[in-house]
Assembly symmetry: C2
């Protein structure tokens, strides 16, 4: 048994049985070993950001890590931006990064670089395995690190000779084990009492739910607390995964726009944080504050993101006597399908009218779709995923991972023409794996958000040079041709009627499909 085989056995033996891969020469022993070990599904990506983004989507949906397979420093580098989103989504991921053989590194061959230094800003745990006999233990440690609360990024560097050398003392089944999934810390009674006192104070109080606090059960508990005490429930502007739709407790997304966010908290005296942080501006703007809340607002952390959020909510419900309260939930209703010209508002209504039960919505609609998640609260129950780290180009890769994780659920990918151009080769993997993903492209042919932000940062006159950096209409991007590049069924909608028909078609297709929506 060689190191690669021992590592794959340990990954699969500890439940890491999917690998999103873009391998090169230094990973060939890992690749070859896949045919000698059962239980690892490998999915090829044509670019490393597709692999890391897919691992993020997989982790968000299953709360356990997939692995990636990346080619030395540059391969890792191409995957970093989606790891940034994954860190902020608390997604568990095990990165396997190939490297030169240990004895070859000092020769400084062309692909040599500081892999540990590259991984560190985007990883919670980094280790270079030193020998074939150690690599199973290193792999188990990486999995344990990735599964540590709240969900972490572990990067294991695998030198070529560590992969290809035979083990001198193999474990009986080649699988190393580690203690995993240690209990999360629980909020002390005094903290629960403090939060309860704030809720009973008569002052206007907000509860912000983040991390695992936005799942169906925790929302339900929070809904009881709010119903009993008059608190208002919020989720961050960019949550990893919010349970939404009819029958679930509706929550308000903190607005991305700073002025609206400040208005949201203008009357709030206390903010109780459960799994998250006090709300701050996404960006700073000249003359505006960084905080979205008023000076003097009391900020109280009941549970950090790595603590036991379910426990904290249940304990708080008990303390405020909300155990038998009924939480109000969203009612099911189907909006009338809008007709005529296409507008963002009408698209939101059409999505609400067509969203299938258990859909997973991966939302990178940026400026077009700020309101979609709210409008869709009357649709059948679904999950809504957002770009937690603000790194652009996340949606198509994350949709891949969500579709692999949940093959029985439809994935709706809300993408913009600007952000969709970061990782367009993702469509190839969607086609190859026949993934059940409907992608909507909101083609407004500009970085609309940057038009808005120009105003926000205080620039009133946008000159021709600046315009040329925020408009992407020369040349117009032909998304039908892009989809055809990868053999994916595609439609172009220029009216709501067309969009309505294409949505019906796209939702029926059991595989990838793309609709370009000309705005």
């Amino acid at each position: 048994m060689n190191g690669a085989e021992s590592l794959i056995r340990t990954l699969a033996g500890n439940g890491v049985d999917v690998c999103f891969a873009n391998p090169g020469t230094s990973e060939m022993h890992f690749v070859a070993a896949l045919d000698r070990v059962d239980g690892m599904r490998c999915i090829l990506a044509l670019f490393e950001g597709v692999a890391t983004g897919a691992a993020d989507g997989y982790g968000r949906m299953l709360d356990r890590p997939a692995s990636t397979l990346l080619h030395l420093g540059p391969g890792l580098a191409n995957g970093l931006s989606n790891l940034h989103n994954a860190i902020r989504a608390y997604s568990p991921i095990v990165n396997i990064i190939g490297d030169h053989a240990t004895y070859h590194r000092h020769h400084d061959a062309p692909l040599t670089s500081d892999i540990e230094g590259t991984a560190r800003p985007f990883s919670h745990w980094v280790r270079t395995s030193s020998s074939a006999d150690m690599v199973a233990a290193d792999g188990a440690a990486a999995i344990a690190a990735a599964r540590a609360a709240p969900g972490c990024i572990a990067s294991l560097i695998l030198p070529g000779d560590v992969a290809w050398n035979d083990l001198r003392n193999p474990l009986p089944d080649g699988i190393a084990k580690m203690p995993m999934d240690l209990p999360r810390p629980r909020a002390p009674d005094a903290a629960v009492d403090t939060a309860a006192r704030l809720l009973r104070s008569g002052e206007r109080t907000a509860i912000i739910l983040a991390g695992l606090g936005t799942r169906e059960k925790t929302l339900e508990t929070a809904g009881r607390i709010a119903e009993k005490t008059g608190a208002v429930l919020y989720v961050p502007s960019l949550s990893p995964r919010v349970a939404s739709g009819a029958g679930r407790v509706p929550v308000t997304r903190i607005p991305y726009a700073l002025a609206l966010a400040i208005e949201t908290f203008s009357e709030i005296k206390n903010i109780i944080l459960i799994g998250g942080k006090a709300p701050v501006a996404f960006f700073a703007y000249p003359g505006s504050p960084s905080e979205c809340y008023q000076p003097g607002t009391r900020i109280f952390t009941l549970a950090r993101v790595d603590e036991d959020i379910s426990y904290a909510l249940e304990a708080l419900a008990h303390a405020v006597d909300a155990e038998r309260t009924t939480a109000p939930v969203s009612k099911f209703s189907i909006p009338v399908r809008p007709e005529g010209d296409i507008t963002p508002e009408k698209i939101g209504l059409l999505i609400a009218a067509t969203l299938p039960e258990s859909a997973i919505v991966v939302d990178e609609s940026v400026s077009t779709g700020r309101n979609f998640v709210t409008v869709a609260q009357t649709a059948p129950p679904h999950d809504w995923l957002l770009p937690t780290g603000g790194s652009i180009g996340y949606a198509m890769p994350v949709a891949v991972g969500a579709a692999v994780a949940c093959p029985d659920r439809k994935v709706i990918c809300l993408e913009s023409d600007g952000s969709g151009m970061y990782m367009p080769q993702t469509l190839w993997t969607q086609a190859r794996e026949g993934l059940n993903i409907l992608t909507l492209i909101f083609a407004n042919r500009k970085y609309q958000i940057l038009h808005n932000e120009m105003t926000n940062v205080g620039v009133s006159n946008v000159g021709p040079k600046a315009s040329a950096l925020i408009d992407i209409d020369r040349p117009v991007i032909d998304w039908l041709s892009l989809a055809r590049t990868f053999g994916i069924e595609a439609f172009r909608a220029e009216t709501m009627d067309e969009l309505s028909r294409f949505m019906d078609a796209g939702l029926v297709i059991q595989g990838p499909c793309l609709i370009e929506i000309v705005m």
Copy 2:
């Protein structure tokens, strides 16, 4: 005058007058200032790797830096893999990376990350500017760092408030200056004497030319030395820019394949290094040595890459009395255009038969085109660029930068279907700027190099799971559709006759064009 304007004035005032940009909110003041300052040309990329790769190509052709404009940590991260190639090409680049306002960073908003830590593994110089009054000096320091021998990567982080604040004490013209382009160290006489003694020893001696040693004039000097002394001239497998073609001194590329490289140096007793390092394997392979040369070979460094390579060669020519020797040069001849089925050998001949004078060839043909540069030595004079760091996806972006740097020269981009899928959105920038680039896609529908490497690493039986990670034929990538996505003229060649006709057409078109070559 605000910080952004002061920085742009300093960049343009020090000759950094092209910026390859993919900006976001934190860069909006820089973008807005472009319309208030003359002399900066900004070129939009839809992905950051396009911007950094373009800056690499620009630096290789002009030996002076362009700048990039990148959006916080994730934007920088997307540009790192092409910076890796740029480092190994000794390309000067000034990266401008936007960041949150200084007072906003501690709030840990979603896009916050360790930008300095991310830049450091791929930069020679990293600094975060601290105030609007300092940013011009910081910019000048970045340019000086980028222009330092042998050509370096400087990364300047620009917080939002540093860009938008007005200067309290602006410089008269807003332009900071720094001492730049200090003289390069010269080889001492004793070193020149040692090299001359080796050349006169009667032992078989190789001269390896790298860095600036592969330009026309230095090759000519090296050619005289070789003619006089019987030394053999080599360039690394992956040089940043080799002057090639008829009328120039022909040099041999050290083979990528380790067995061939070892054979190349099997009789060599002395290796004189000028601007480079002793030849080592690109990757380590089980049971093979790392060095391409025999044990006991004398390795002598006459000039490091950051030293004065022209001086070292001239001094050596003087020492071996080769000042009036005539260097043998490649003869001009046009091969007969091959017919029939497409093979790599025939493509090489057709390229040699059609290459226009002064063409810039950006070569990422990987396994298909190992011999092209040699075959084309009888074509009109041209420059040949290779992926110096081995990071895949470099060719289309580098072609952009070369075409911007040299608008009067035709750029031929030799791309493979595997490597071309890393940054396909580069074609949009080619179309937008009307760049004079002919792209050939060698569509063998697999990672052929990985098929080869499987054998090299000792794997004889490639199983179905491994095959699925090195074949990219499901789905077939339709490159004509991809080109049409961006409004680029494109052809598909399935015979040499078709390829011959399409090459003629593509060379006439004054703008981007793509030919998919089905292998």
